[in-house]
Amino acid sequence: MADIEYKPRKINSGKALSIAIRSKDFWRLYILAVLMVFCSIFYYFGEIVDLVGWQGSRWDFFYGIHDIHRLLFLIPIIYTGYVFGTRATVLVTIIVVGICIPRALFISPFAHPLLRLLVFILIAGALGYLAALVRTRMKRRGYLESMMRREIGRLSALSDRMEEGIILIGPDYRIRYSNSSMRLYFGEVTSPYCYQYLRGLDEPCGEVCKLSEVLAGAVRRWRHELPDGGVFEVLASPYIDADGAVCQYATFRDTMVHEERGKRASEQQD
């Protein structure tokens, strides 16, 4: 076998940039960077005004205690927790400490600046962590729900391919599920109740009905005859549905079809 030489595909910088811009993560990081820059400028606005000498922008608000200005950093921390997860939250919280610490150590004329910064950062970090926790749980829930939907679809497809009719009846006589063979034998489910659908009655079948026995845990087998002469072998057993209710799970086997098949098989053998 000839060796295949692997040549890495070269992507030019323009193409790489366009791929990056189309990525969701690029915009998430961009928003985080913008938030951090905005909060930092807001936090040090008084010093920036002094440095540049913008006399018109000397508002008292930016020369007061900076605990309120620091609160703005809650936005990028909680955003990071919700969008990126736990590790990124820890990183951003440490970066915020790095941004805020020069003021606490060298600029602030107020009492205990470092202690106040530490209290804020602990609370902000905890909030960011909680946001990350919410995000993780939401993602996990979404993943489990999609898995469950996929499994339900798979099981439904399997039961639809079966030759036997399947019907699930709740304790209130309501039909919870029927497969395609069942609908083929008895028609579309137009009535919510089993006695209306299977026998055309207006009330439960009375002594013939095995629902209460099956719900009590028994497995029952009987023959269900149709007015047109069709006969079904029914096997009913208890089943606990997703809501915890005990239901009757019944399979309907068309005996005519099976008898014909049996005859044909014996004829072929002869």
């Binding site: 990525s23 993560d25 990183l91 970066i95």
Partner: protein, 76 residues
């Protein structure tokens, strides 16, 4: 050296090593880093307090996407 300075140093130390450990862990799991060699980055992160770590994060923003499993791509 008074108590306040000692506390400040301890605080810096804790923050620096928290950051360093997280970033070194990230680097260990990464196949490629900017510049191709990991050793200079290890030295920068461990020895240049905050600035080394900040530079690494700027050059490798994927650090933030570590547990973001939507469309995480660690190669660059």
């Amino acid at each position: 050296m008074d108590l306040e300075w000692i506390l400040q140093l301890v605080l810096f130390g804790i923050l620096h090593w928290m950051l360093a450990v997280l970033l070194l862990q990230d680097m260990a799991s990464r196949d490629r880093v900017l510049g191709g060699r990991k050793a200079p980055w290890v030295l920068a992160i461990a020895l240049v307090t905050f600035l080394g770590s900040l530079l690494y994060m700027l050059c490798h923003p994927q650090v933030f996407l570590e547990d973001n499993d939507d469309d995480n791509d660690r190669s660059h």
